[in-house]
Symmetry: C2
Subunit: 335 residues, 2 copies
DNA sequence: TTGAAAGCGATACCAC
DNA sequence: GTGGTATCGCTTTCAA
């Protein structure tokens, strides 16, 4: 293995000088710099991460805790992860993957063993058992999703309350008076993932303000579930003309169900979907959407955590404003 | 920070003894063990990963290189990653996430800086530029997918050739004489991802053996692409009664297209899909599938790499046999 | 069965 | 602008 000493010898300087050339933490004469950089290249030197971590108490690794359930939208998780790695690399950090299943203990382990410098935690629940642990960790943390008591933790997420309202407002503006929400799977509500309830709050609230009849159901991903949920909704409220779907995974199945029943979109039913923009075009009719800005969230999460690593210590809750894009799946209801 | 010395002091033993209690690399009297373990617990001691890596030349980290494109099936990638993390943790390793976009240099960096002990590389192409780099790395490597010249590298994958054949064999057995393959997006073929061509080989080969007319097209993910591809296929071969879909992402769109044209499954057209089993039930009609065993592949990839870390140094190419599960989307063709 | 001490390869302080 | 060197926290050899 090539060490910093090898480089120093080859360049005829002290190891500390090599270190400083690399880190840029003190000024170096052009000549020395050239000499050192050449030796580094020639020898193919790469600083040993462990040694570095030991000496500097920095690993340049961020831990990312992801949910690996299938009742969550996989595409969204992937988009998020993708943008997070990319952003992390842009700040010279690597990403360590942890799963939600490992629970609070994994966070403890990674922080206490100095495996990572900071943590980003996805899929945070309202009363998440990991929150108290994270607070005790004394490392920068950014949550994706907002727990009931974020205390001193930073978090970032789409403003789901505003998103729920935006969907209703759009349909109401078009003239719909009876609308329904097809929400995430019961499991999501059950474990109190806050975005589900926040969305619902915004939805109900806007409906009340707009004087619109609004009902909602959670729904699993299968074709059958979609079918039953739809039955339920129409049984309770026969005159529904607008549908808000906050459950990306059931979208394909749901649209099939509608088609099977001879219901056209947006002719018989207007549909607003909450999903990544990329999914809007994957269906028969281009969907009016409120975008889930997974990429933006991933990028900003990394940037927030890096900020904190650089000493900017102000816990912060960032809620990104929803953006509704009108496409072909919404229109005014039939008279 | 709690160090091994703190623990040693608290337990009244030497630091080396604490180390041996933890590693189990030499026998310890029951009394000493109890003492040490108690102190560890009491102090909340976690060994410093960097120090460990420096002293032992082991990081207990596996690097996983994933593709982050959207023209690949995200769900499959996620399943794979999920099972890999889980398997890695079971062997006391963490997973570092790298992206294919970072290219060969990233592998170099991670290996040379001793950030990870071994690498698992997904989405390997026929003439993958990373292969020569990986060979030079002198660290255990397992490839997901089979390059043209694996040389001394281990690899694992579904036996896509056999999978292609299995699909044809199934349809032929049911009596279909004209079948078509809807393959991955052109981009996948273009960059020479070998599973696409291997599948096609198996498909063509089996068709020849069975005396069946077989044609194929690559296809993008949009509804439009599905529609055009179908037009193309029927234009070239009007009597098609069997469809093999080796492109999970286009499935929902494709099924919509069929329905829109009044084609029933399996009445007018039998469909065999190559996809994760979990996707079989997400459609109007439960799909006959050849499963993509992402979980199994992920698990075995980790196990292979761990084997090599433990000194079992035999490069190996593992091809998992395909499993076809008959569901509702295939039947004998109309007379 | 246990202890003492020599590294591992960087960083960063103290000198000059 | 540069060099010397203590230090980080652990593993592992050598000795007892």
């Amino acid at each position: 293995m090539v060490t910093i000493n090898d480089v120093a010898n080859a360049a005829g300087v002290a190891p500390s000088t090599v270190s400083y050339v690399i880190s840029g933490k003190r000024s170096i004469s052009p000549k020395t710099r050239r000499l050192v950089e050449e030796s580094i290249r020639k020898l193919g030197y790469h600083p040993h991460a462990g040694a570095r971590a030991l000496a500097s108490s920095k690993t340049n690794v961020l831990a990312l805790v992801v949910p690996l359930r299938t009742d969550l939208n996989v595409a969204v998780v992937m988009q998020f992860v993708a943008s997070a790695v990319t952003a992390a690399r842009a700040h010279d950090h690597d990403l360590l993957l942890l799963t939600k299943d490992e629970g609070p203990a994994a966070l403890q382990r990674v922080a206490s063993s100095a495996i990572a410098d900071a943590l980003i935690v996805m899929d945070v629940e309202a009363a998440d058992p990991r929150v108290p642990m994270l607070l005790a960790l004394d490392r920068p943390v950014v949550l994706i999703g907002v727990p009931d008591h974020p205390a001193g933790l930073s978090s970032i997420d789409l403003d789901f309350t505003a998103a729920g309202s935006a969907c209703v407002a759009h349909l109401a503006r078009l003239g719909h008076r009876r609308i329904a929400l097809i929400g995430p799977s019961p499991a999501v509500y059950r474990r109190g993932t806050s975005y589900a309830t926040r969305f619902l709050d915004g939805f109900d609230d806007a409906a009340r303000r707009a004087g619109v009849r609004a009902i909602s159901r959670s729904c699993n991903h299968s074709y059958e579930a979609a079918s039953h949920t739809l039955d339920d909704l129409f049984a309770e409220e026969p005159g529904i003309t607008g549908l808000v779907v906050h459950n990306e995974a059931v979208l394909p199945a749901l649209l099939s169900v509608l088609r099977n029943r001879g219901l056209t979109v947006p002719g018989d039913l207007s549909v607003v979907a909450v999903c990544p923009e990329a999914m809007a075009d994957q269906h028969v009719v281009a969907l009016t959407t409120v975008a889930i800005p997974a990429e933006e969230v991933g990028k900003q999460a990394v940037e927030m955590v890096v900020q904190r690593l650089n000493g900017h210590n102000t816990p912060e809750v960032r809620l990104l404003s929803p953006r509704l894009t009108e496409r072909e799946s919404t229109a005014a209801p039939h008279a």
